[in-house]
Structures are given as C-alpha cells and as structure tokens.
Amino acid sequence: MKECILRIDNLHKNFGGVVAVDAFNLEVRIGELMGIIGPNGAGKTTIFNLISKIYEPDEGTIEFDGQNITHKSQIQVARMGLSRTFQNVRLFSGLSVLDNVKVALDAKANYSLLEAMFLLPRRWKREKETTRAAMECLTLLNLDEFADRQPGNLPYGLQRRVEIARALVSNPKLLMLDEPAAGLNPEEVFQLIDFLHEMREKYPQTAILIIEHRMELVMNICEYIYVQDFGKTIAKGDPTEIQNNPAVIKAYLGEEA
C-alpha cells in the first residue's frame, strides 16, 4: 500500500442554513488519480476550497503529507506542496505564459528585494534556475511554443493546459483540478484527456484529485470516484461500479416515473 498523502475525516461546512459538505471522508495516496463527481450544487468546489484553505471547515480534520492542516493558512498549505486550478481559468493576465508558470515558483525562490533591486549575483542564478524549470515544464507538456504569448490571446483549451502547467511546475504532492473540462468543446475534451494521461506519466509522484461534470473524462482517467449529492457522498468505487450504481443514476437522471 502506498503512503497516504491526503486524509479527510468527517468534514462539515455550512453556509447559513445550507449544508454544503456533510461528513465527507477521503483518502488519496501518492500517484493516485481520484475523481469527485456530482450534480451542480453538490458541494464539490466547496470541498476543494476547504482543502486548499480558502474556507475554514466547521468540523472535521484534514491531514496533508502527515501533518494536520485543518487550521493552517492558504499560503502555508500551498508551500507544503498542495496545488490547484480553478473552475474559471485564473491565469494572471498581465504576465506572459512563461511568467505565469515562473510565478508559481517565485514564492520559494530565495533572493531578497535588495538583491533584485541591484542585480546582485544570486538574483541572476535564481532567475536562471526558475526560467529553466518553467521552460522544462512547458516543454514536457508541449506548451513551449506559446511561452512568449499573452494567455488572454490563447484558445480556451490551451489556457486550461497552461493553468495546469502552472500548478504542476513546483512538483506538487497533490494537484487538484477543478472542472478542467468546463467550457471546452468535445474535441478539446479529448485533447485534455490525452494531456492528462501524458502528464501522469511525466509526474508519477503527483497525486491528482479532480472535480468534473463531463462523464467521458472522469470515466476515462479516474481510478476511483466519489459521487456527491447535496453535500453527501452517495457512492464511491471504480468507474464501472459507479456507472452501474442505482443511486448515482437516480441523482443524475432523476427518479423513474
């Protein structure tokens, strides 16, 4: 059995009277690819926001990489190696594609503001390292030809991939993808599936947690799936089990007349 990287125990979150997440449990191991699916409003993105510490949970514990992160800040958790993308692409519009990827490494690059202001030697060294790592990641994911482009000028599917590259460049222990196929056309979804398969080969140590609506994507790449509905986990299992689960079919297609 591989080492457990993320363990969530009995997680709760209410917004006013609405129960967004109710008694959620989850375990992710190194290199695993897990999916969370469910209809709109099932609390999937809330789970992500709780794990990445944008929200505070009402109850429950989150353990990441052997440490309890329930009360850590978003910045601390990010620096521990938890990386994520967002439902609506959130690339930094003022920066080129390469700079967008570089900025994901910048918080950890250690040279001071004074060294930056007066171009001291360490600044050059660290900048070189950052550029090389970012270019390597872009090349690995076949995005290097877009390095100098502005992200706003790229097609949506490519912006998604750049966002994933930006989240991957720091070699995170856990990568969380929030609806990576949202807003993509069918052809782009297939490209994304290939892209994700390729990515897993190249970053075998990174565990991936994915929220998705598009069944073709989830069923194609996830090893294990959690199904959420109204904050509760209604089913879990591998793709074939999920596809034949009556509770899931009910949640997705409604009650039979």
Binding site: A78, G94, V103, A107, K108, Y111, L113, F118
Partner: protein, 301 residues
C-alpha cells in the same frame, strides 16, 4: 548650462523620481494611493530641519529623513493594507492631510504655511539629481523584472490565485509600499534642494494626484511610458510659454490643455500612451529593421 536649463532638468528629474515610486506601488502591486507626497514632506522637513537646528551635514540628515519615511510607511502600511483597495486609497488621503497638519502644528520649527527656506546650497546639484534619477529608474526596472515584479502583477490580477501559489500577499504589499515611500522620500529631498524652500502646499493631495495622473497618462503597466510622460508633461507648460496663437499665450491655457490631453488619453488609449510596451533593445532592433525595410521598399519603387 544656464540656470534656467538646469532648473528645467531638475524639475523633470524630480517628476520622474516621484512617478517611478508611484509606478512601483500602483502599476506593479495595484495599490492606489493619494498620499505619496506626504512621504516627500516627511523626509524633506526632517532632512532640512535637522541640518539647520543640529548643524549636521546634509547627507547624514538626508539618510535619517529617508529611513524615517520608510519606518513611517511600514507602520502605516500594517493596518491600512489589510483594507480593501478603495478604502486604502481613502485612508491615504487622510494620512497625507495628517502629516501636513503635523507640519503646521510644529510651526515653531517648520515655519508652518510660510514655508521653510533655510536650506543649504549644494554644489553640482543637477548632476547629483540626474544620478539619483537614473539609479531610481534602474532599481524600479529591476524590481519589475524580478520575482517580486511577477508576484506583484499576480496579486494585482487575482489575490486568491496568487495565495494558492504560496505568495504572501500582505507581506509583499507591505514591502512594496515601503519601497515606494522611500523613493518618494528621496524625491522630496531633491525637491527641497532644488526649490530651496518647502511649504506644506507643495506636498498636499493634489501633488500626489498629479503623480497618479502622470502615471496613468504614460501607461499603467509601462515604466518607459510613465517616465516619458512624467518628463514631458512636466515640461509641457514651459514649451507652451513660447507658443502663442491669435495673440494669446498658450501658457495661460495650460490647465485646459492638460485636461484635454487626459480626456483624449482616457477615451482613446485606456491603458495609457504606451500601454504595456516597454522600451528595450529588442524593440529598438525590431523598429530599426522595420524602418530599414520600408526605406528599401521606397527605394525600389
């Protein structure tokens, strides 16, 4: 050089220094402040009052003035940068007013609204100010092209996304605010040395607003644009002095001309004159090639 030319050069340089400071905070980190002139006054009053009353050399008191501005900026930034951007801008106006009120309260030493004029004369001032200007622009440029510049632009666009990459948004804003205020402080001392008199009027919120206008005119995300507009708009009234149409001197219409220019920019180039373009060797090479090609084409016809 004639005294007039020197005064024009120093005027331009001071404008470039202060606008570079505002560029660091507003263009890079997205903090809009109308109180930067207050840091000019803190450092200028400290420098010249200490030099006068304690008989210390000016370079020493200048260091004290700049360091004190930095410390004040640090203290002010701790609570105010926790606020939302619009409240931060409001607070900066209040801060500017507060500093000037203190200057007037200490009228016994600062000479209050009349202005403090016991400022020593410094030789070769124009070269010193030119040197400082070049240094400041160099430093600001280096910040822009470092990890700090990238992180600033990231947090300006999207704070939550920036945090999700481990960027300490609050800490970085404090750092940048202190740097911008120190640059303003340097500008304040240069201002005092040039004018040989400092009065609260010259550091009020309209002085801070002018810096922002010059910045937005040149291009919100372009250091080159900001520097060019800081220099050219500051010199514009002087050129207008020599021009007259229908017997009227354009210098008398300088406010109107400013406003027309700004309205034109806001309407037709929302991102400022230069937008996001920077002057770099690559760009110059590209332009040279373009010109070369067009010249050749013209020749073959």
């Amino acid at each position: 050089m004639s005294a007039y030319q020197i005064s024009l050069i120093t005027l331009t340089c001071i404008s470039v220094i202060t606008v570079s400071g505002v560029f660091t905070m507003t263009s890079l980190a997205g903090m809009f402040s109308l109180g930067q002139a207050a840091y000019m006054s803190i450092s200028a009053y400290l420098t010249f009052c200490l030099a006068r009353y304690l008989n210390l050399p000016i370079w020493l008191t200048a260091i004290v003035g700049i360091v004190m501005s930095g410390i004040v900026a640090f203290i002010i930034s701790l609570p105010s940068l926790r606020l939302r951007r619009d409240y931060f801008a409001l607070l900066s106006v209040g801060f500017g007013g507060m500093v000037l009120a203190i200057v007037i309260l200490l009228g016994k030493w600062t000479n209050a609204a009349v202005g403090f004029s016991k400022i020593p004369k410094v030789n070769h001032l124009v070269w010193i100010i030119l040197g400082i200007t070049v240094l400041i622009v160099f430093v600001v440029r280096n910040i822009k092209y470092s990890r700090f510049g990238r992180m600033c632009i990231a947090l300006k666009t999207d704070e939550i996304a920036a945090r999700s990459f481990g960027i300490n948004v609050y800490g970085l804003k404090v750092k940048i605010y202190v740097v911008a205020s120190v640059i303003a402080a340097v500008g304040g001392i240069c201002f005092g040395l040039r004018n040989r008199v400092i009065a609260p009027d010259s550091f009020d919120w309209s002085a801070s607003a002018e810096m922002q206008i010059l910045l937005f005119f040149g291009g919100t995300n372009s250091l080159t644009g900001s520097v060019l507009s800081a220099a050219s708009l500051k010199l514009l009234p002087e050129f207008l002095k020599g021009v007259s149409i229908f017997g009227m001197n354009l210098h008398d219409f300088r406010t109107t001309i400013y406003c027309i220019l700004i309205i034109l920019i806001i309407n037709f180039r929302t991102k400022g004159l230069m937008g996001e373009k920077e002057l770099s060797f690559k760009l110059i090479q590209k332009l040279a090639k373009k010109i070369n090609r067009t010249v050749k084409k013209g020749g073959s016809k």
